[in-house]
């Protein structure tokens, strides 16, 4: 039993890294633009399907394919922001939820037309093989996915804290109006942030698709988890999203071992409710100073 639990903790940490990748995009977009991107889950699934197509039709390796899918998704993100988010003037936060939900429906519909509703999974030698370490069997893909997440999140850290764009982005996050006043083009920062958030889903989608079977409808399950993670971590807090991803995935995996897999997701949501009873602003969130 103890061995099973340790195994679950390891898997939880490794998959948690991938969730951190997906949720960091979501929380970043919220932090800068004050909108919740419900399409994030659908974009992850889209990213997974893009990797699937590149691999099936062009025999491009999943990780190499990211060099194509991530720029494509980045452009798609900029396009979505320009076409659907920027025109919203009144009640932006609320309307953005509905608009991005519509985008999610369209993505789900297009994927359904193109690929049908049967489940697929990404395959590669590292997705199907595993190695032994200290008595535990680990699939290569979990480790590779985790390493990929660490690299990309590291890149994101450098971008945010070591570049001029990062300064503008964090300034826009702290105070949009003040950032505009000191000459930051907040609209442009918003577009690029949205693009980065969506580009991260391409990588997250690949790692997700290689570990889990998915179909166009999988995004509901995914977005609800991502939302729980970013709320738990505190909306707009990157550190919170990272920690919440790891904690939630570990708890979910351990629950499915010690209790039952069917209750694992329920525990996930229950934890959110319990946490919010104690800390309405999430683990690392600021209390909302600016009130509606």
């Amino acid at each position: 039993m103890a061995k099973l639990i340790i195994d679950a903790v390891i898997t939880g940490i490794l998959t948690g890294g991938v969730y951190a990748l997906m949720s960091s995009g979501l929380t970043l977009i919220f932090g800068v633009m004050n909108i919740i991107n419900i399409a994030q889950g659908a974009l992850v699934i889209l990213g997974a399907y893009l990797s699937f197509v590149l691999q099936q039709n062009f025999h491009i390796d999943l990780f190499l394919g990211l060099l194509i899918t991530m720029p494509v998704m980045f452009m798609l993100g900029i396009l979505i922001e320009w076409a659907f988010i920027r025109p919203l003037k009144l009640e932006r936060t609320m309307l953005s939820i509905l608009v991005t939900f519509a985008v999610a429906l369209i993505i789900e519909g297009v994927l359904g037309i193109q690929f049908g509703t049967s489940f697929v999974q990404l395959h590669a030698w590292y997705a199907d093989a595993s190695f032994q370490i200290g008595g535990f069997y680990l699939a290569y893909i979990y480790v590779f996915g985790f390493v990929l997440s660490v690299i990309l999140l590291g890149g994101l850290y450098v971008l945010l804290y070591r570049t001029k764009f990062g300064y503008s982005l964090r300034a826009s996050m702290q105070n949009r109006t003040a950032a505009e006043l000191i000459g930051i083009d907040v609209e442009r920062v918003s577009a690029v942030t949205f693009g980065i958030g969506v580009a991260l889903t391409a990588a997250g989608g690949m790692a997700f698709g290689a570990t889990t079977a998915f179909n166009p409808g999988s995004h509901y399950d995914l977005i609800s988890r991502l939302l729980v993670i970013i709320i738990l971590g505190g909306l707009g807090s990157l550190r919170g999203a990272l920690i919440a991803s790891l904690v939630m995935l570990v708890i979910e995996d351990v629950t499915s071992v010690v209790w039952s897999p069917v209750w694992a997701s329920t525990v996930f949501f229950m934890l959110l409710v319990v946490t919010l009873l104690v800390r309405p602003q999430g683990l690392f969130g600021q209390l909302e100073a600016r009130k509606q």
């Binding site: 919220f30 004050n34 919740i36 659907f84 025109p87 919203l88 003037k89 009144l90 009640e91 932006r92 936060t93 609320m94 309307l95 939820i97 509905l98 608009v99 939900f101 519509a102 985008v103 999610a104 429906l105 369209i106 789900e108 519909g109 297009v110 994927l111 359904g112 037309i113 193109q114 509703t117 949009r176 109006t177 166009p216 509901y220 609800s224 939302l227 729980v228 709320i231 909306l235 069917v262 209750w263 997701s265 329920t266 949501f269 229950m270 959110l272 409710v273 919010l276 009873l277 309405p280 602003q281 999430g282 909302e288 600016r290 009130k291 509606q292």
Partner: protein, 352 residues
């Protein structure tokens, strides 16, 4: 003016009552039943979300709770098919409302965007419960409700239509009362500026919770009636994420926070939706069209049909009176326009 209004309302009611008798084709009346059901649900949803400005995207939870309450009551109390199950509707709504008390209390501890996400999370918890609590819900195998076999195909839809119409009148009555009461004024104040409302002595917490519970009550009754109409109950259809947004979309289309807007939205969207479902039975196309429709509505009519018409009307009146004689009217309507502009400007400021 008042007489014209009342006559108009009575005429409209007569149209609603006569509709299934004139167009008695079951293929049409079934759409009419769904339209009525959504009109009730959207009106109920609007009592909370429209008046307080807190957009709840998890009301499918109360739809499902009402549906399961109905199915379980009919099963355990061995209610025969026919008119009897209709009398269970208020009880089913009550069950949903009772669940809404703790859920609403938890969700309303947070402010707007977090609130949206928590309502979604609660919805998913309830859906998972429907799958997992097999002893009560029979899991994904689902439940069946009594089916009134002795109603002929031509007649079958009519009782459901009229019961839904009665629910609509009730919901509309409550919505009208809330809108015109001091309590409703408090809700509108919360929508405009919650902190100021609190400062002026509006008990914001209890006010929001009561509105939340009322809206859950109506949505629960709709879920129960819908379940009896369909005759069977499965977790993904009882707790349907599309229902969450469909209700919000209808309210947005007609005019969020207006009395008749939600009904107008349902009258437009449900038949459209049913038409697309019939035309493009393949699931993918249906979703794409629905999504595009959704985007078009929100981007072109972010304020909804009724408020847009009202604004145009005020402008037109001002224009007419300026070119004519009555200067006073022009003055007041100009002021109203300024107020509208001011409030929208303020909202923008908050979002920046």
């Amino acid at each position: 003016m008042k007489i014209i209004k009342i006559t108009g309302l009575i005429a409209l009611l007569a149209v609603f009552i006569a509709f299934p008798l004139v167009f008695s084709d079951p293929a049409i009346t079934i759409i009419a039943v769904f339209t009525m059901l959504f009109a009730v649900a959207t009106t109920g949803w609007n009592i909370f979300s429209g008046y307080t400005g807190y957009i709840a995207l998890g009301h499918a939870a109360y739809f499902g709770l009402g549906a399961y309450a109905m199915a379980l009551m009919a099963q355990d109390w061995k209610i025969p098919a026919g008119y009897a199950p209709f009398f269970l509707l208020p009880l089913a709504g009550l069950v949903a409302a009772i669940f809404a008390v703790p859920f609403g209390w938890i969700a309303l501890r947070t402010r707007r965007h977090t609130f949206v996400v928590i309502t979604i999370a609660i919805f998913f918890i309830m859906q998972l419960m429907a799958y997992n609590l097999r002893g009560i819900t029979n899991g994904s195998a689902g439940l069946t409700l009594p089916i009134p076999f002795d109603w002929s195909a031509d007649f079958f839809n009519l009782p459901f239509y009229y019961v839904a119409l009665a629910l609509l009148l009730l919901a509309l009555g409550v919505s009208w009362w809330v809108r015109n009461s001091k309590y409703g004024l408090g809700l509108l104040a919360i929508r405009d500026d919650e902190d100021r409302a609190l400062g002026l002595g509006v008990k914001t917490g209890p006010s929001k919770l009561v509105a939340f519970v009322i809206s859950a009550f109506f949505v629960g009754m709709v879920g129960a009636l819908h379940a009896y109409f369909i005759g069977s109950l499965y977790p993904p259809f009882a707790f349907d994420a599309l229902f969450d947004v469909a209700v919000a979309l209808m309210a947005f289309l007609g005019g969020l926070g207006t009395l008749a807007g939600p009904i107008l939205g349902a009258l437009i969207l449900v038949p459209t939706q049913q038409y697309f479902t019939l035309q493009f039975s393949e699931n993918g196309y249906y979703l794409v069209i629905y999504g595009i429709l959704f985007l078009v509505i929100i981007l072109l009519l972010p304020e909804g049909i009724l408020p847009t018409i009202r604004k145009r009307w005020i402008k037109w009146m001002a224009y007419r009176s300026q070119s004519g004689k009555i200067q006073v009217v022009a003055g007041t309507s100009g002021q109203e326009d300024a107020l509208v502009a001011e409030s929208s400007g303020k909202r923008d400021g908050v979002n920046l």
